[in-house]
Chain length 223, copies 2
């Protein structure tokens, strides 16, 4: 009678919802979006199944909320730290650095949630897969745009095919993800960096600037 603790202000509810989503993201990266079960999640958080599901309605809505949160985290961990670099090669290389680090540090305990989810949703379609498609598309477009800038500025060969570069970049990062997840070998990050260097050669670091003199871009040491 006294043990029931039904505290529930609007702010508290928001916090509860946050906790649910946060835990969902971590759990989903380990067990998969489908392996996420309401019962387990609820008992993990010390709340009831109905109380949990009340925030989302259906499991699918929870999955989508988790994916959207994962995108926010990805943006925070990978894109934003590199966003200030000069568009073009500099930013591409900066993004690759943060991207590799994001896998190396294990931001998601079970590896990149997007990659895992894609393979999980191989066959079936539906809102979850649609969202995944959109998220990957947006990310790819960002990278392609910067490759195009880099090629236009002469930082990459003029015959560069932007989509091709992004295709290969994605492969490098997926291979890293795969190696880390299967063998726990974070040393593979060095391999990924080498592969990136081959694909996006660093500008010559001579005392004289590269080829675009007036550019403030090329970060020498952005703190």
């Amino acid at each position: 009678m006294a043990s029931v603790s039904p505290r529930r202000s609007a702010a508290e509810a928001r916090r509860t919802r946050e906790r649910i989503i946060e835990r969902s993201v971590a759990l989903a990266s380990l067990e998969g979006l489908e392996g996420l079960t309401i019962g387990r999640l609820a008992s993990d958080l010390g709340i009831s199944k109905s109380g949990l599901l009340g925030h989302f309605g259906t499991k699918e809505a929870l999955q989508i909320a988790a994916l959207e949160r994962a995108a926010v985290i990805f943006d925070r961990e990978v894109w934003r730290p590199a966003a200030d670099a000069a568009p073009g090669l500099a930013r591409l290389r900066a993004v690759c650095t943060t991207w590799i680090s994001y896998l190396e540090r294990g931001v998601f305990p079970g590896g990149c949630l997007f990659v895992a989810s894609t393979f999980e949703y191989d066959g079936r379609d539906g809102p979850v897969r649609d969202l995944l498609r959109r998220q990957f598309g947006a990310w790819r477009r960002r990278l392609v745009a910067d490759v195009r800038v880099a090629a236009g500025r002469g930082e990459l060969p003029p015959d560069t095919d932007p989509e091709q570069v992004v295709f290969e970049l994605n492969g490098i990062l997926m291979s890293l993800n795969h190696t880390i997840q299967l063998y726990g070998d974070t040393g593979a990050a060095a391999r990924a960096r080498r592969a990136v260097d081959r694909l996006l050669p660093p500008p010559p670091a001579g005392p004289a600037g590269p080829q675009r003199p007036g550019e403030s871009g090329t970060p020498s040491k952005p703190a």
Copy 2:
């Protein structure tokens, strides 16, 4: 009473077992190794759950049988068609060709079962994951050996790091797998081929042999 059909010779039982495994592989590539459910599988095949499980004992044993069968298929579709090429660059390139084709043709309806399973078994360990590790290890070792041969024969730069090359090859193929599965874009196979060409440059196709004169290897047109 009359509808029960308990035919069961040793040969018939073997065939039943084969049918189960075959269907399991296809289903697992679509729904995941864990998404494989005994009930669904049984009703798909028109047999009872207990009759199915009697062949394997546990679901885990069935998953392992499916993975082992998938390895046989992979070997048949990817390795064997290329195995006769000369060890070294020629065979590496041949393997990449069959490998890409294997993804392009959708040998497994849900993409490469090994890759999907790896990400599915991110967190948890156990016999399934151990098997995955061994299978990937064997495949990687094969490729590394051929890269080493190629480097030793001067078909690749002498400072080539074999593990690095295989790491990047794996990435290319995983990126292809990913693109096909998420967008159904088999056109990405061309991108994968271009990436392979960059990583494993084809030998100069001049009228004179490459650099190793007495070698019968370098297949000009092996039919």
